[in-house]
Amino acid sequence: MKMRGARILLEALRCEGVNHIFGYPGGAVLHIYDEMIKHAESLGIKHYLVRHEQAALFGAAGYTQATGKTGVALVTSGPGGTNAVTGVANAFMDSLPMVVFTGQVPTNLIGNDAFQEADLTGITRSCVKHNYLVKKVEDLAPTIKEAFYVASTGRPGPVLVDLPKDMTAQELEFSYPETIEMRSYKPQTQGNPKAVRRAVEAMLEAERPVLYIGGGAIHGGAHDEVRRLAERLNLPTTCTLMGLGAFPASHPLSLGMLGMHGGYWTNMAVNNCDLLISIGARFDDRVTGKLTEFAKGARFIHVDIDPSCISKNVPCDFPIIGDSKVVVQQMLDEVEQMVGHGANITPRQGWHDQIAAWREQHPFWFKEDGDIIKPQYVIHELHRLTGGKAVVSADVGQHQMWTAQLYGFDHPRNWLNSGGLGAMGYGFPAAIGAAVARPNDLVVAVVGDGGFQMSCNELATIKQYNIPVKILVINNGYLGMVRQWQEQFYEHRYSHSNIEVAPDFLKLAGAYDVPAMRATKASEVTAVLEKALNTPGPMLIEMQVAREENVFPIVPAGAALKDMILA
């Protein structure tokens, strides 16, 4: 049967197993939205109408962070696409598999400065894994096949497909390719066996090893393998911001998060290790601090699916290119083989004792202050009341760091945030995506008053679809992280970081007919949280917290990890 390009697009999504789309209509994508409503039942695809295109992208990102499934967003040409760019850049930085469809003006108008025209493939070229402009309907189905394949394999990332309006009206017989073959794109998943053997030898020799786990271990689904490797070789294990949950926070070998706001004991362990075993992490500047001082005496094992990550920031002694899950399993097999040949696994008790002593010396701490709510206390209570089992989506800033430090993630894909790009406004829409993907799990968006005001329009979205997101607003009336830096590094000059002129968040929620609660005293926190979390459906919870609380430890920008400020 012949069908329009618009319908072919939707049938192709069905073939890819897409159940949910986040989007916003407009002139250039009207054919697509028309086919969507005409064939809603047979397609089995549910579309969520957001209130700003950026939220469609963040929603799709939260969806993929919470499940591993490729997230899909659909926006119109011109401003629809440009509003989506931040979301595309976010997915690029955090290696999230996403396919983004943008409308485009008709092919005969491209380049004419037509109404709502923007060169979206050009604008996004530096922040996509790949992008396509589909000018002929014959190319549509094969392009979508390729787009999903490229987005979800290798180092995942966003793929943008630009769809001129006239193309979506052209008719063609629908057929979807079953296989795909690209001579220019062949990700390597298996690690080189000799490289794996040499790495394992180094792990057995090491006296002070640290296992350093990044978001790649979550993308690769390597959490089980990572845990078994850590347990088999007694490896103290730290996770990056993006890797939290890839190794259980409550595990005796867990060191928690490293880097700029990492634990004292974690950063000291990394600083003093003799072997750093990196799985799917990229030695980001927020992790390493001053590069020349980072784990100075250590040799590096670096497992990464992206060859360009190896030795990009830190010269690597044992590079292994491959998929995290596959390579760590290869390592486990190699360990057993060496043990079979008489190799010894040492308990390294002295090293573990040293780290425990550091932890005891400077644990995470905060000072209670009468009935003033300390933000850390809120996170602590959130953890306690949810049993550490909630899906938590953070925005960007102080509350994000406190959540990363204190919530204690035991499972992968329960921690969503904008790590690489650090995009404020991420937390709430991403939580919507997660709640759509995992309707049976409790989803909490932990947001600051700044980031929430960049995305609070999505209250209409959760109201419309009754999406049971709990929005926990940590309100300190400041752009807290900016204020903290201004306090610590700019002699208390709080230049334009005071945002105490803000809406009454309860009234704001009320305007959208979303229920809301508030705590202004420490003694109210538990009861309010408990009641809010136990109320079905969407809910906003405002915590009016201490205004000038700081995140500690902090490694000043450009300083070495060991020079972190503790209080």
Binding site: G122, R125, S126, S184, Y185, K186, N192, A195, S308, P319
Partner: protein, 182 residues
């Protein structure tokens, strides 16, 4: 150090800007660049020259290979190779001694005269960068009115190709020297 890098790419819309955009986004420099079709339909060859320390060159090789539509990346400088570029110059050459001097240089450099007018010649020369530079410098004193250069193209020497294949077969960590998506 200067490097000549050869890329085999799918000849698709926007390909040139993907490569050049990557260079500008990551702060690498393209000194020269040229693009042309290959024997295989739909595949183009880009030859570019760039400079940087070993770390930067390594990153350039890996980042360009990461582009989804790049098939192969070769650092030509790493192996014995032949490099040629072409230059065309409009040189003032009035009748008499001046023209004779230009023509004698043409002969010495095995260049060619491709256009003649009353007081100027257009010359064409093919050679490696050094030869081209020397030719330009000599003509400069006489008077160059206009000049266009292609930037180099390069080919690995036949013997080197065979030796490389042998090394690759024996290579321990071929993934680190890998410059082709296999």
């Amino acid at each position: 150090m200067k490097h000549t890098i050869s890329l085999l790419v799918e000849n698709e819309y926007g390909m040139l800007s993907r490569v050049s955009g990557l260079f500008s986004a990551r702060g690498y420099q393209i000194d020269t660049l040229n693009v042309a079709p290959t024997l295989e339909e739909g595949v183009s060859r880009m030859t570019l020259t760039t400079h940087g320390n070993d770390h930067i060159i390594e990153q350039i090789l890996r980042q360009t290979l990461k582009l989804v539509k790049v098939i192969q990346v070769t650092d030509m400088t790493a192996n014995p190779h032949v490099e040629r570029e072409m230059v065309m110059l409009t040189v003032s050459a009035r009748r008499g001694e001046e023209r004779q001097e230009v023509l004698s240089l043409v002969k010495i450099f095995r260049a060619r005269v491709v256009d003649v007018s009353e007081d100027a010649l257009i010359l064409e020369l093919t050679g490696n960068g050094e030869k081209v530079e020397a030719f330009i410098n000599l003509l400069r004193t006489i008077g160059i009115q206009d000049m266009v250069r292609t930037g180099p193209v390069a080919m690995t020497r036949v013997a080197a190709v065979r030796a490389l294949q042998q090394i690759e077969d024996e290579e321990e960590f071929s993934e680190l020297t890998l410059n082709e998506k296999v």
